[in-house]
Symmetry: C2
Subunit: 447 residues, 2 copies
C-alpha cells in the first residue's frame, strides 16, 4: 500500500515521520487519498490507535486533511514549515550487542513482567483518580503509596515502619543524592570495597567524601570501618555485590554499635533481598536499630529497570531534617506511577510477580550450576542462596583478563570481582561474577 | 447501603479501607453479602472501575471472597494479618487555607488543563508502545520527546537545537543539580538578587558556592557580575522574578561577552517565557551564543505543577561532559510521561493549550489591572506585558509588612519584592508581587 518499514519500538512515530517524508518528497502526491486507519493498521500489523495517533499528528501539522465520510488526503506542502530535520537523535542508544549472553547488565527478562496487569492498573488509575493526578505530590511521596509500601514491608519482612517516614524517590542514584543532602557533604561515607561502582561514583558526583572499607566473607570489616573516620556506611548486608557476602547478625550488631558510638548512620541498601531463593532472610539492619539505619530499596530489579522508583525509610531525626529541607518541594516521581504501583502492591500483584520470578530464577540457577559442575575441579562455585548472582572461582586460570577473554570467545560478557574494586586490594583474583538476572533458558541452552 | 464516606481525592483507596475497617470491626459480618459493583458505584456516584479496584484489593488480601454468579461476601477475619494500622500518613499535606486568594503560589487553574486529551494520549501511548514502555531510557531522555521539543523550540522561538543536546529532567530543581555536577562545585554560581529563593537554596543544597548579584530594570548588573568571581550566572532575561525586568539585547550581549571572557556559562532560565502576553519575545540568550548558554525550561507553569518534567539544552562541550558522567545512568523521568508529552507536543495540543491559557490570563490580567486602577495614586503598576506576575508599588504605604497585613485582612496572600532578597539590599521596598497565575474570575470578583 504505502511501502512502509516501521521501527517496532516507536511505531506511531516512525509511521508519522515516514508518511511525512513521502508527502514532502512528493512520493505521496497532493490530494492523494491515504489508506483508511483500519486498512493501514491491518496491513502493518499495528493497532488502529497507532495509525490514529500518526494521522492526528499529520493533521495537526497540516500534512494531511480530513474530509468527512471520505477519509484522509495529502495536502500540498510547498515550503514545509518546519523543514524536515534530519539530525540523528539516536547516538545515546545502545550499541549492537556482540555478546549473546550478558552476565554483567542482566535486566529482568521482559516476558516475566505482567504487562497486561500493569496496563490495566494504569487505565484504572486514570479512570479512578482523574484530574487529581495533576495535583502536587507532597515532598515525601503519595501517602497511599507510602502506606502500601509500609504494609508490604510488614507482610514480607516483619518491619514495622511508620509510613510517614518513607520517602519515595526516582531510583537509587536519586536517593543517594537526597541522603548526601540530609547528612551533609562534610561527612565521610564509607563504601564497601569491592562494590558496584555507581555507589562510590554517586557519592563523589554528589560532592561527598567517601572512603573504601574492605568487605570479607562476613560483610564489611568493622575494625577498618571504625578507623576510617566515616560518619555513614553504605552496605548491602543481605547479599553484597559482588562478593555475595551475607552479613551475620553478630556483625550487624557490631555495625549498629559503631553507628551509635559515632552518632552516624547505616545506609542499608537492600537492592536484591527479594531474591533470597533458599532459606529464611536474616533480620534487617533497620529492624535491629531503627534510629541509626536508613533502609533503601528500589523496584528496578523486581519490576523493570525503566521503573525509576525507589524508596527509603528514614530514622525520625533524619525525617524531621528531610521535612525542613524539602517541604517546599514537590515529590520527583509522577503521581501516576505512584498510584499504579500502590495498586500493584495493594492488589497482591507485586507479591505474585515476585513468587513467579523466584521460581523462574530457581530454574535458571539450577541449569547454570549444572553447566558449571561440568567444569569439574576447574571452578569452585560459592553460592549463598541469595540474590541474582553467584561467584565462581577459577583457581587454574592465569588471570582475570584470561577468564574474561575465554568468556568473550564463547560470546559471554563477564566481569570479575576485581573489576568492582574501588580501591587497590589483592586476594580477590580469579573470581568471575555470574549475574544471571538477565538470562533465559534459551541463552543457557547455547552455553 | 454501606454508609461510606469517600475521600474524593483517593476514591478507590478510601472505599477499600473503609470496607476493610467495617469487616475488621464486625460492622460487616462474616458471610454477609456486599453490594454489587454496579449498585455500589451508582450509590456512591463513582465509576464501576473504582469499586472493582477496591473489591480486587479486598479479595487479594482475603477480606472478601467471590462466589460465582452470587457476588462478593465478607470473610471471617479473626486475627487480621496485617493488623489495621492507624498511623496518620497525611502530615505532609497542605494546611487549611486561610486565604481565599493566593498571589504567592499560584498554580495554573486545574480547569484549564485539557485532562481528557491528556488521558486519551496516555491511553494511546499505553496501547501504542506496549511493553517497550518498560525499556531503559537513555540518560538524556527519550529520543522522540527530545525531537518533539526541538521541533517545538524551532516553531515557537526560532531556536535551532540539535535534539541530542536536549536533556530531559524531573523539574527545575533536578536540572539545577545536574548543572552543578556538570560545572563542578568548585565554581561560583551568580544568582540574581532578588530572585525565587529556591534557586540559591538549590545551589547551596547541591553543595555549590553561590553569590548574589543585583538585578535592575535592565536585568542583572554586568559590572557587579564581572567583579563577583562567578563562573556561571543563573538569569531569567525574558521576565525576571520577582522584579519583572526584561533584559534588553544590549545587556544580553554584554552577558555573553562576560561568559566568553571567563570561559563561563549562562543558565538561561526561561521559566515563564511562554506567557509573553503582548508584543514579540526577544531573541533567546541561547540563540545569541549557543556555546556559552544552557537553556532551561519546565512544563510546571504550562501543564501542571505535578508534571515534574523539564529540559535543558546544553552547549556541545557540556553535552560531551554530560555523556561522560551519565551514560551509564538511565533517565530519571518515566518513559510513559515522556511519550505522552511527546504526543501532546507533536499533535499540536500543547500549543493549543498555550493559546487558550494566554487568552485566559489576558482576561485575568485585564480585570486585575482595572481593580488596581481603582486605587488611583495609591499604587503604581509596572507591567512589562510578560509572564504571570506584575509589580505594584504602594508609595504611601508605611512598610512592606503593612502592605502584607492589609492584604491578609482582605484574605489575600501576598509577598513583597523584599521577601525575595537573597542578600541585603535597599531601594526595593513597598513593591507587592502580584502573581496572578492561580487566580480565577470568581476569586477576582470577590476582591
Amino acid at each position: 500500500m504505502l511501502d512502509l518499514n516501521l521501527d517496532l519500538k516507536n511505531k506511531y512515530y516512525s509511521l508519522y515521520s515516514q508518511i511525512r517524508g513521502k508527502i514532502l518528497s512528493g512520493k505521496i502526491k497532493a490530494g492523494e487519498k491515504l489508506p483508511s486507519k483500519r486498512a493501514l493498521a491491518e496491513e502493518l500489523g499495528v493497532s488502529v490507535t497507532t495509525v490514529q495517533l500518526a494521522y492526528e499528528q499529520l493533521l495537526a501539522e497540516g500534512y494531511i486533511c480530513s474530509r468527512e465520510r471520505s477519509g484522509y488526503f495529502a495536502e500540498r506542502v510547498n515550503s514545509p514549515e518546519p523543514p524536515p530535520r534530519n539530525q540523528s537523535v539516536r547516538s545515546e542508544s545502545a550499541q549492537k550487542e556482540k555478546f549473546f549472553c550478558d552476565m554483567v547488565k542482566g535486566n529482568t527478562p521482559a516476558h516475566m513482567f505482567p504487562f497486561s496487569t500493569w496496563a490495566r492498573l494504569m487505565r484504572l488509575v486514570l479512570a479512578d483518580c482523574g484530574e487529581h493526578l495533576l495535583e502536587r505530590v507532597p515532598c515525601g511521596g503519595d501517602p497511599e503509596l507510602k502506606q502500601a509500601i509500609s504494609d508490604y514491608l510488614y507482610r514480607s519482612r516483619g518491619l514495622d515502619v511508620d509510613p510517614r517516614h518513607i520517602i519515595i524517590g526516582a531510583g537509587a542514584e536519586h536517593l543517594y543524592d537526597v541522603v548526601i543532602k540530609l547528612l551533609g557533604r562534610d561527612k565521610i561515607f564509607a563504601v564497601e570495597n569491592p562494590s558496584y561502582g555507581k555507589i562510590s561514583s554517586s557519592y563523589a558526583l554528589g560532592g561527598a567524601k567517601w572512603v573504601a572499607v574492605n568487605v570479607g566473607e562476613k560483610g564489611i570489616d568493622v575494625t577498618q570501618l571504625a578507623n576510617s573516620g566515616a560518619h555513614a556506611v553504605h552496605i548491602s548486608p543481605a547479599h553484597q555485590f559482588p562478593t555475595g557476602a551475607v552479613t551475620p547478625v553478630s556483625v550487624r550488631l557490631k555495625i549498629t554499635e559503631w553507628a551509635n558510638s559515632v552518632g552516624g548512620y547505616v545506609i542499608e541498601d537492600d537492592y536484591d533481598s527479594e531474591f533470597r531463593l533458599s532459606g529464611k532472610p536474616l533480620q534487617n539492619m533497620f529492624g535491629l536499630c531503627p534510629s541509626r539505619v536508613i533502609y533503601m530499596n528500589t523496584f528496578s530489579k523486581t519490576l523493570a529497570p525503566s521503573m525509576r522508583l525507589g524508596y527509603m525509610v528514614l530514622p525520625p531525626e533524619l525525617y524531621n531534617r528531610y521535612i525542613t529541607l524539602f517541604s517546599s518541594s514537590a515529590n520527583i516521581v509522577p503521581l501516576f506511577e505512584q498510584k499504579a504501583l500502590a495498586a500493584m502492591l495493594n492488589g497482591g500483584y507485586f507479591e505474585r510477580l515476585l513468587s513467579r520470578l523466584k521460581n523462574y530464577y530457581r530454574g535458571i540457577r539450577k541449569t547454570l550450576l549444572e553447566k558449571l559442575f561440568a567444569f569439574g575441579g576447574d571452578c569452585e562455585v560459592s553460592d549463598s542462596g541469595s540474590g541474582l548472582h553467584i561467584i565462581v572461582k577459577f583457581p587454574r586460570a592465569q588471570s582475570d583478563a584470561q577468564i574474561k577473554e575465554r568468556a568473550a570467545e564463547l560470546g559471554v560478557n563477564l566481569k570479575c570481582v576485581s573489576d568492582y574494586l574501588i580501591a587497590p586490594r589483592t586476594g580477590l583474583e580469579k573470581r568471575a561474577v555470574i549475574n544471571y538476572s538477565g538470562l533465559t533458558a534459551e541463552i543457557l541452552e547455547k552455553l
